[in-house]
Symmetry: C2
Subunit: 197 residues, 2 copies
C-alpha cells in the first residue's frame, strides 16, 4: 500500500484510489452497484470527499471512461496491422472489463466532457489507422466498420458470457484470430495491390 500515513487529513491519492476501487466494484457487480459513499468508505474518507475529485457519480464514470479510452489507444498503437489490432481490442476488453463496459454505455457519461472527447478521439484515430493500409477491400471505411463490429461484438459476447460454450477452454484471443480469418476472405485477387480510392 502506498498509503501515506501522515497526518491523515489529506489522503494523498484519493482520486486514483476511488477510481481503482470503482473498477473492482464494476467488474464484480456492474456500474449500477456503484455507490460514492461505499467508495468513500473503502478509501477511509468521509462520504463527501470524492465529490471534490468527480463532481458526481456521472463525473466518476466519465473519468473512468476517459482512462479507458486512453488505455485502449495505448494498446492499439503498438499493433502492426489490422488483425493484430483486433486481437488487442479483444484483449483490452478482457483485461479491462470495467473500463470497457463503462465506455460503451453513453447514458452513464457526460458526453460533452472535453477530456473524454479527446481520449475518445485518440482511440478512434488508432482504429482508423488500422484500416488505412487495407488495400484488399474496395471501401476501407466500410471494412473498418466491419472489423470494428466483429471485434466489438466478440468482445461484448465474451464479457456477457454468451460464447463460453463455443469457446471451450480455448484462449479467447486465439479463437478471435480464427474469426478474423473469415473476414475479407478470398474475395479479391490477393495480389491486387493497386489502389484507386
Amino acid at each position: 500500500m502506498t498509503r501515506t500515513s501522515r497526518s491523515s487529513y489529506h489522503h494523498g491519492g484519493l482520486r486514483q484510489a476511488v477510481l481503482d476501487a470503482a473498477l473492482d466494484v464494476i467488474a464484480a457487480e456492474g456500474p449500477g452497484a456503484l455507490s460514492l459513499r461505499d467508495l468513500a468508505r473503502r478509501a477511509g474518507v468521509s462520504h463527501a470527499a470524492p465529490a471534490h475529485h468527480f463532481k458526481d457519480r456521472t463525473g466518476l464514470l466519465t473519468a473512468l471512461a476517459t482512462e479507458g479510452y486512453g488505455l485502449l489507444a495505448e494498446a492499439l498503437a503498438a499493433a502492426p496491422e489490422l488483425r493484430e489490432r483486433g486481437v488487442r481490442y479483444v484483449r483490452f476488453a478482457v483485461e479491462h472489463p470495467a473500463h470497457f463496459q463503462v465506455m460503451f454505455q453513453p447514458e452513464l457519461l457526460r458526453a460533452d466532457d472535453p477530456d473524454l472527447l479527446a481520449a475518445k478521439e485518440r482511440a478512434s484515430a488508432e482504429l482508423r489507422a488500422g484500416v488505412a493500409g487495407l488495400t484488399e477491400v474496395p471501401d476501407a471505411r466500410t471494412a473498418g466498420i466491419a472489423a470494428w463490429s466483429l471485434a466489438h461484438g466478440f468482445a461484448t459476447l465474451l464479457l456477457t458470457h454468451n460464447v463460453t460454450g463455443a469457446l471451450g477452454d480455448r484462449d479467447p484471443e486465439e479463437y478471435f484470430r480464427s474469426l478474423t480469418g473469415l473476414l475479407f476472405t478470398g474475395q479479391l485477387p490477393p495480389e491486387q495491390e493497386g489502389k484507386r480510392e
Copy 2:
C-alpha cells in the same frame, strides 16, 4: 388508453403497464434510471404495487429480458437464410433498444430464472438454425460465432452512437447488408434457396 376505469382499486393490466413504462425510461435514460417508485407513480398505483408482479428491481429487468428474448426469437424465426437473420438481428436492436440493452447486461438479471433461460434458449436455437445450412464454410460453429459477433457488434455500436458518422443518412439495415458481404465473401451462390430439415 386501455385503462379500465373501474373501481380503480385493481389496476387490471399493471404488469404490462409497468413493463411498457420501464421500456420508455430505459430507452431514454438507461436501466440505471429505473425506479420502481417512479414506475408505480406513472401507473397511478402505490409504490409497493409493482413488487407483487416483479419481486424486485432485478425481477422487473429479468421479465423485460425474457420478453426481449421472446421477441428476438420471433423476429429471427421468419428469416430464410443467414444474412437475412443478421439483418433481423440488427433490426431488433434498433426497434427494441431497451430490451436489447437489458438482455446483454447479465449483472442486472436473475441469471437462473427459468422463464428467462427458456426464452434465451429459444432465441439461441434460432441463431443456431441460421448457420445450420451453411456448407460453404469449414466450421459452422465458428462461422456462427463470427456472424453473431458481426451483427451484435454492429448493433451495439449503432445503439451507442459510434457509427453514426460512417453511416451518414444510410439505412442501418442496408449498411449492415454491405458488411455481411465481407464475411465468408464471394462464396454464397445467390440463389441457394434449397432447404434441408
